[in-house]
Structure formats: C-alpha cells, structure tokens
C-alpha cells in the first residue's frame, strides 16, 4: 500500500451530502494524488525537501472553529481590514468582520460562495491550480472543504486590506486543513489581500493551501503571505497567478515560522504590459526548513518581472530557493530580473539556491544572481564602538540585509511584525514611528 493511499485511508469514511460534481472532483483529486504519491527526493522539484513528516503524520480534519478572542488576539494582527478567519481550516463567523465591505466587493467563505454562486466560482476554482501541479494540489482538491473567495468588481478600489487569517491551534491531536483561496480582481480594480498563517505555540498541524489570483486587464493586486506557523507546524502552499493586459501583481512572501514549509509561487503573464513583482523574505532558525520555488512564465511580449528573495538562516536551519523564469519563443521585449541573497548567521545553517532561466526569445533583458554571506564583523564592531550593544548591532545589520525587501512593504503593521521577529528587541528601542517623524521634520526644515 502506498504512503499516499494510506494517508487517505486514515481519514476514514466522509459524509457525502455534497453535490455529485463536488464529489466527482474530490475523487479525481484523490485518484491523482494516489497516482502521483508523496514527492520524494528523487523528484527534482523536491530534491532538498523531505516530506516524510507529512506523509507519516496522523492528521484529522477539524470540525469546529473554537478560539476565544484572547487567543485570537495573540495570533492576528491589529489591522483595520475586511477580515475572514479560519481556525484549523474551519470558518469562524465570530472572529470574522465583514461589516463594511464596499459596493462591488465580496469576501466570503468558499462554502457560502459555492451555495450562492456556484457556477462562477465552480468554474474559476481549480482553473489555475488543478490536480496536476503537484501531489499536494491534488491532495488539496481531494480534501478541501473551505476557503476564502474574494471578488472585486471592475474599477473598484478597495481601500482597506482584505485580511484572511488561517489560525493553527495547539490541539490535542494534530489536525490538517486544505484551504483554497480564490481572488478574482476585476479590470482596473485595486486591492491588497493578506493571507496570514499564524500558529499557536505548541501547534503541530498540517496546512496544505492552494491560492489562485486572477487579474483582469489593468488590475492591481498586492498579495501578502505572512507565514508565522508554530515551530512544529507543517505548511505547504502554492500560489497561482494569472495576469491580463497591463495588470500589476506584487507578492510579498514572508516566511517566519513553521517546522517544514514549502511555497510554490507561479505567475502567468498572459498579455502585454503585465508586471509581476516577487518580494520574498525567509527567516529561519532552530531546525526549521523553508523551501521557496518560484516561477514566472512570460507568455506574452512586453511583460515585466522582478524578483528579490532574501534568506536569513540561523542555527541549523535550512533554506531552499529555486527561481525559474521562462520566456516563450515569441515573447519579445521582456524584462526579467531575479536576485536571491542569503545571510548565514550560523555556520551550521544551510542554503541551496538555484536560479533557472529558460529564454526562447532574443529581445530580452534578463539578469539573475545568487549570493550567500555572513554578517560583516567590521560593521558589528563599528556599531558597538558607538555604544550599540552586540545583539542590537547584529539585529540592525540583519534588518539592513532584509531592507531592500522590507522597504517595499506598504503595511507598517507587517513591517513591525517582521522586524520584531528578525531583530528581536530592536523595535522597542528603535521606534519606527518616531523615526518617520524625524524624517518628516527633516523634510520640513
């Protein structure tokens, strides 16, 4: 019996009050998953990431979303936002806040969206990420029940961010969830969508999420994935983006937590003028393992991609970066830039980085680079001679390393969250708001 088969068997029989077409889709997902099996190190895309901890795990699906306000407050960010909350994959109406959605915007749990609008949603979901992308997307199709559906009408500018929280509880026995996220951004709309994965200390659950983001002509989407799973949580995600003419997608893939984390990010630039920006930061310590696989498909001429991933690795942590750019044969006048820089804070930390460019057109501006280094000890010394203590000096220099990526973040709450995680006590002494004030005073003077 294969590991994949055994994994599904452990779930036992499931209630089948679902419409037949949903059940059929599940069966297709399960069949594909069993056929593919869990990936092994022999699969090129999984060469450095061992998923046995997932394959051998005993996970069950949660059936409640109980999480009191205090526990939630410890996980979520204080954001003025349209908020949708899932607890171990189960929708929590109590913790969500969708009271003042602007006209032309809908933010719903998947089950609701399916009930009210199942043709549009059923047709869109799985269009970018079906059962063939990876064993995990197949598994997601087999087991997904809930998720977030965001639809933004033509020309609508959504002022507040749309904030989707996936909370992972410290449960008595390990849970798993296979959520979906679907974002449909209408022509010329503008929005910010945050996927926030937050784990309680002691949580040891498995999250396997698939996100699809569709940008129509001229749409602008800022997409944040802030991953703060617990140090025992297992997390697999794939994000699939499709871009129409003159659209602009900006991804922030910020990885701070998790025992084993794998994220795939794939964008199809399908029409002229489409632009995608990938900003990535991973900060791992202890024995954390984070693997980012990114792909940009330049399927049309005059498209633009810019990628900058920074990795900070401490202790015995392990990082993987694989960034691929494919320029199709008739896709002329392309610009594609990619950079991955890594900072090793310990000599037992390890990074495997691989940029891959496949270019089949000739009028193309491309660059890529990967570097790995340590903190500059001369700079640590110089800062300490100014009275800055060693921990703060190292924190400051580590943040400076992350700066290029973090300077792009447009939500101060997220900046602060990341800075605190990366540099510890720095923000208290080094109040950001205060410095903004200083800069403003400087401008005026």
């Amino acid at each position: 019996m294969s590991a994949a088969h055994a994994f599904l068997q452990r779930l036992g029989e499931r209630a089948d009050d679902e419409p037949t077409w949903v059940a059929a889709r599940r069966q297709a997902g399960a069949a594909r998953f069993e056929a593919l099996g869990f990936p092994t190190k022999r699969d090129e895309a999984w060469k450095y990431t061992d998923v046995r901890r997932i394959a051998e795990g005993e996970f069950t699906l949660a059936d409640d979303a109980e999480l009191d306000e205090a526990r939630f407050a410890a996980l979520g960010m204080p954001l003025d936002a349209h908020r949708l909350v899932f607890v171990d994959g189960v929708f929590s109406a109590d913790l969500s806040d969708l009271t003042d959605l602007p006209d032309g915007v809908s933010v719903e749990p998947l089950t609701t969206a399916m009930r009210t609008n199942h043709e549009a949603i059923g047709g869109a979901i799985g269009r970018l990420a079906g059962v063939d992308f990876s064993p995990f997307t197949a598994l997601n199709v087999a087991l997904s029940e809930e998720g977030a559906v965001v639809r933004i009408g033509q020309g609508v500018v959504v002022e507040k961010p749309i904030y989707v929280v996936f909370a992972s509880r410290a449960n008595e026995s390990a849970r798993m969830s296979h959520p979906r996220v679907l974002v449909m951004a209408g022509a010329r709309s503008q929005s910010t969508v945050i996927e926030h994965y937050a784990g309680e200390a002691g949580a040891a659950n498995f999250t396997n999420v698939v996100s699809e983001v569709m940008l129509e002509r001229g749409a602008i989407v800022d997409h944040y994935k802030l991953q703060e799973a617990s140090s025992e949580d297992l997390h697999v995600a794939s994000i699939h983006v499709e871009q129409g003419r003159d659209s602009r997608f900006t991804s922030f893939n910020l990885n701070l937590g998790g025992a084993l984390v794998r994220t795939d990010l794939v964008t199809d630039l399908n029409a002229q003028g489409a632009e995608t920006n990938y900003n990535g930061l991973f900060f791992v310590q202890g024995r954390q393992h984070v693997d980012n696989h990114t792909l940009v498909n330049h399927n049309a001429p005059n498209t633009f991609s810019n990628e900058n991933y920074k990795g900070i690795l401490n202790d015995r942590a392990r990082g993987v970066f694989n960034g691929k750019v494919i320029v199709k044969r008739d896709s002329q006048q392309i610009e594609a830039y990619q950079n991955n820089a890594n900072l090793l804070l310990s000599d037992r930390a390890e990074i495997d980085t691989k940029p891959e460019l496949e270019i089949y057109a000739d009028d193309v501006k491309c660059s890529h680079g990967a570097t790995t280094g340590q903190l500059d000890e001369e700079a640590v010394f110089a800062l300490r001679t100014r009275g800055i203590d060693e921990q703060m000096a190292r924190g400051l220099l580590t943040l400076a390393f992350a700066g290029e990526v973090m300077d792009q973040v447009r939500l101060p709450v997220i900046t602060e969250r990341v800075e605190r995680a990366v540099a510890g006590k720095l923000p208290e002494r080094f109040n950001l708001a205060d410095l903004v004030e200083v800069s403003d005073a400087l401008e005026e003077a």
Partner: protein, 250 residues
C-alpha cells in the same frame, strides 16, 4: 583619565606593542606620531576592544576602571569614542538611525529617557551644519559611497553628537584637503574642554597647526620612545624619525 601601563599586545603570534606607557589627563590633547607599522592603530584598536588583539601583559585604566574587562559597547558608553582610520561602510543602516540609536544607547545607560525626535533633529542639524555637511547625509547609509573626506567628516559628526570623554582619532587628517582639514579641526577643537581628552594619531604636523597638542609622543616599534610638547612635532617634521630612533637606541 586614561592610563596605559606596560602594555604588551600580540597579533597573530607576533608582538606589536612591547611595553607601552601612556597617561592622558582630562583637558589634554595628545598627539601620537611615529612611522608606519609602529603600532599606533593597534593601540587604538585595543583601547576600543577589537577582537584579535591579545594583551599578554600590562593594563589599561579608564577613569580608574579596568578597560580590558569591559565589552566594546561598555567602553563606548563609558565615554570612549574611536574615530576610525578607515571608517567602514554599513549598507542599509542610515546615518540618522545610527546617530539616534547610539545617542539613545548612551541615554538609556545613564538612566535617562530616549531623546524626543524634535530635540534630536535640532541637535543633529546644528552639528551637521557645523561640519558643513548636507542634510542628505542623514538619509544615506553609513559611509556607503562616501568619499574619503566625507567619511572622516562623518566620524567627527558622530563624535560631536555623542560628546565622548575621550576621543581617539586615528589619522583623521589623512585624505583630507586643506578646507576639509579646517572643518574637521574646528569640529575637534569645539569638543575641547577641561573634562575631555583627545588622543590623535597623525603623521603630519599640518593637523597639529590647527589643533595644538599639549603632549606629543613618538611611538616606534611598539614603545613610546620620546615625549615632549608641541615643539617635538615641529622637530619631527623637520628631521624625520631617524634621530629619535638613534637617540633611543643610545
């Protein structure tokens, strides 16, 4: 204020300082001169607490406290500031962040509140214009892409903001043109008072025309072989170091 007693220092197995003695009192300006490789930068590195220098014997006291037992940042907070011969570039850390973090570290160490932003800005802008530096320097990363002269001015700017008790300036005059030298010298002179001391490493008499030292020492091969007043600097300028070496060998 600073007492260096029979200091022996080894770097990578070879002895660089070989029994160095030096006393600097509050209010004094000392000039440390001597040929390349004599150990001048080694002395300032050891006082600042840099790694890789092994003190095999002797001691350094600062205001009576054993300096060699203090962490690098503790020495800074006690009031010692090293102006680097080669200031390091720190990409991604803005000058203004450094100044504020450093000043607040001092204030917190003294049990004071952190400095309010407007007060900080006022202070920094005053010192900036004194050093004839543009406001844009504050938003630039520390020393990144600065010319040699700009780096040295930036060291003095930090000194003026931090107001150390003992400033050690290692070849602050190298790489400066005449005008920049004047600005830097004015900056250093503005710090002089009865409670502070300055130790300057220099090769040239030129700087000492602007900042008149109380004492001049000649460091040769890890030892101070001759000390005197400002006249000694003139003599060294005219006659070189050879005669000092011969005199000390005799």
């Amino acid at each position: 204020m600073l007492e260096v007693k029979d200091l022996h220092v080894t770097v990578e197995g070879s002895e660089i300082l070989k029994g160095l003695n030096l006393t600097v009192n509050p209010g004094e300006v000392h000039a440390l001169m001597g040929p390349n490789g004599a150990g001048k930068s080694t002395l300032s590195a050891v006082i600042a607490g840099k790694d890789g220098y092994e003190v095999t014997s002797g001691e350094i006291l600062f205001e009576g406290k054993n300096l060699l037992e203090m962490e690098i940042e503790e020495r800074a907070l006690a009031g010692i500031l090293l102006g680097f011969q080669y200031p390091v570039e720190i990409p991604g850390v803005k000058n203004i962040y450094l100044l504020k973090a450093a000043l607040n570290a001092q204030r917190v160490a003294r049990g004071e509140e952190e400095i309010p932003a407007p007060e900080f800005m006022k202070l920094v802008r005053e010192q900036l214009s004194f050093m004839k530096m543009d406001g844009s320097f504050l938003q630039r990363a520390v020393n990144e892409g600065f010319s040699g002269g700009e780096k040295k001015r930036n060291e003095i700017l930090q000194m003026l903001v931090l107001q150390p008790k003992l400033a050690m300036l290692d070849e602050i005059d190298s790489g400066l043109d005449i005008d920049a030298m004047k600005v830097v010298a004015e900056g250093i002179n503005s710090l002089r008072n009865a409670d502070r001391a300055i130790l300057m490493v220099t090769h040239y008499q030129r700087l000492l025309e602007h900042i008149v030292p109380d004492r001049v020492h000649v460091l040769v091969d890890g030892r101070i072989v001759k000390s005197g007043d400002k006249e000694l600097a003139n003599e060294l300028e005219a006659r070189g170091y050879e005669w000092v070496l011969e005199e000390s060998a005799a």
